[in-house]
Symmetry: C2
Subunit: 91 residues, 2 copies
Amino acid sequence: MIKSMGLAGSIAMPADFTPLYRQVMEEIRAKISSGEWPPGHRLPSTRDLAVQYDISPGTVREGVNRLLEAGDLRGHQGLGVFVAERPPPPV
Amino acid sequence: MIKSMGLAGSIAMPADFTPLYRQVMEEIRAKISSGEWPPGHRLPSTRDLAVQYDISPGTVREGVNRLLEAGDLRGHQGLGVFVAERPPPPV
DNA sequence: CTGGATTTGTACGTATGTATT
DNA sequence: CAATACATACGTACAAATCCA
């Protein structure tokens, strides 16, 4: 689950803070690794993910963009974002 | 050089259109490859690059973010963005 | 065939927080 | 303390592609 922690206006930021967009990446990668979202699976729309996580669409997009760049996901305009058929090559 | 081509309001979009943020990535990678920006070199600030390219800071950031993720660049808050000392591992 | 709805992709803008000089 | 610069988060707008009634 993604917790925004109410950063704005908070007194102190925890040392182990993980940015929301990175939490999004972790959530998605976890679902892929666990098999909940197998290769070819279509993800919920950006807007739906934003509603689910209670964060802005732009922040979801930020995380998804990096997974697209990394090769974990494949995006198709008008269709959706899908789990890559072949996992990205390890570093 | 980055040319925005005046997308908004244009009659037709060229088939070989490359997004502005990708042109930014190419420009930066070209300067790194050519040796103009060697490892450890500090890049101009995001704002300065935006002025140079005549695009918005957010779009520069979009390209820089992906190069940071890919390992080509290293960012340091309050300091700037630097060419990575060691090039990212090839895919 | 046409038009609307949906969804990704791109671009821009604003605000705030954090780190360094 | 002030200025600079990156990092994050949110928001808006429009274009392009797809699907479907």
